[in-house]
Chain length 139, copies 2
């Protein structure tokens, strides 16, 4: 079960072994959110083996952002002050983005959603590169 | 070598095997910063064994924040949009803190610095609990 706030804010692209992969609807920055299947709420409270397995998936998304999308910088965070369900932010950043150099949370201005074709193409690349199990991209 | 901006913003409490341990001077929240000895600038680009060893130290600080300082929530992040040297934020949060539920970066209001005795007592606990190698707490 994904928290309703995350569902409202994000597209669901699919899942890896450990995490559901979401993409924030604000296309101003490539803002991926990974949601592991756990009841732990703080990233640093995860047992080390779980932490490492989940980070492999976060690192895959970071590589995707850098090598496929052409960003040189990736921000990583586990916060959860608003949505208690553990979720990890992996966000491509550039000096040209709408809120550089601030972090995105609460600062990224409202922005357009993704074009459906772009979403489909990113999803396809993630299937090819990292064996993402794709979700149906309904809305 | 610690980046001058981190030096200006933080007290240096000591070091673990992999990271120098800093504490942000703004005592409004317990805001620890761990600086690993690496030339990698993005957390998710670290080789997995380095990542995991560094996280053991971050998790120790999270436990300190929770069990010794009594916070139930810890934010974790690797950003580096302003200071390129890799550094990891481990921040105790509570609903009573000066910028809850926002993340701290760019939002935490100016606040008083730590009392020297409190710094010394935290440092002593970190030596006892997690074998911190203490630094001289000059200023």
């Amino acid at each position: 079960m994904i928290h309703p706030q995350l569902k409202a804010d994000c597209h669901r692209l699919g899942h890896f072994d450990r995490c559901v992969l979401l993409l924030h609807r604000n296309a101003g920055v490539p803002w991926f959110i990974l949601v592991p299947d756990t009841t732990v709420t703080d990233f640093l409270d995860l047992p080390a083996p779980d932490r490492e397995a989940i980070l492999v998936e976060c690192a895959a998304i970071s590589q995707f952002i850098k090598h496929r999308l052409g960003y040189s910088k990736v921000n990583f965070a586990g916060l959860g002050n608003v949505v208690p369900q553990l979720h990890l932010h992996v966000v491509g950043r550039s000096e040209e983005d709408p809120c550089w150099p601030s972090p995105v949370w609460g600062v990224l201005p409202e922005g357009a959603d993704y074009d459906a074709d772009l979403l489909t193409s990113w999803q396809r690349l993630l299937v090819e590169d990292f064996a993402l199990s794709p979700a149906s991209l309904s809305s």
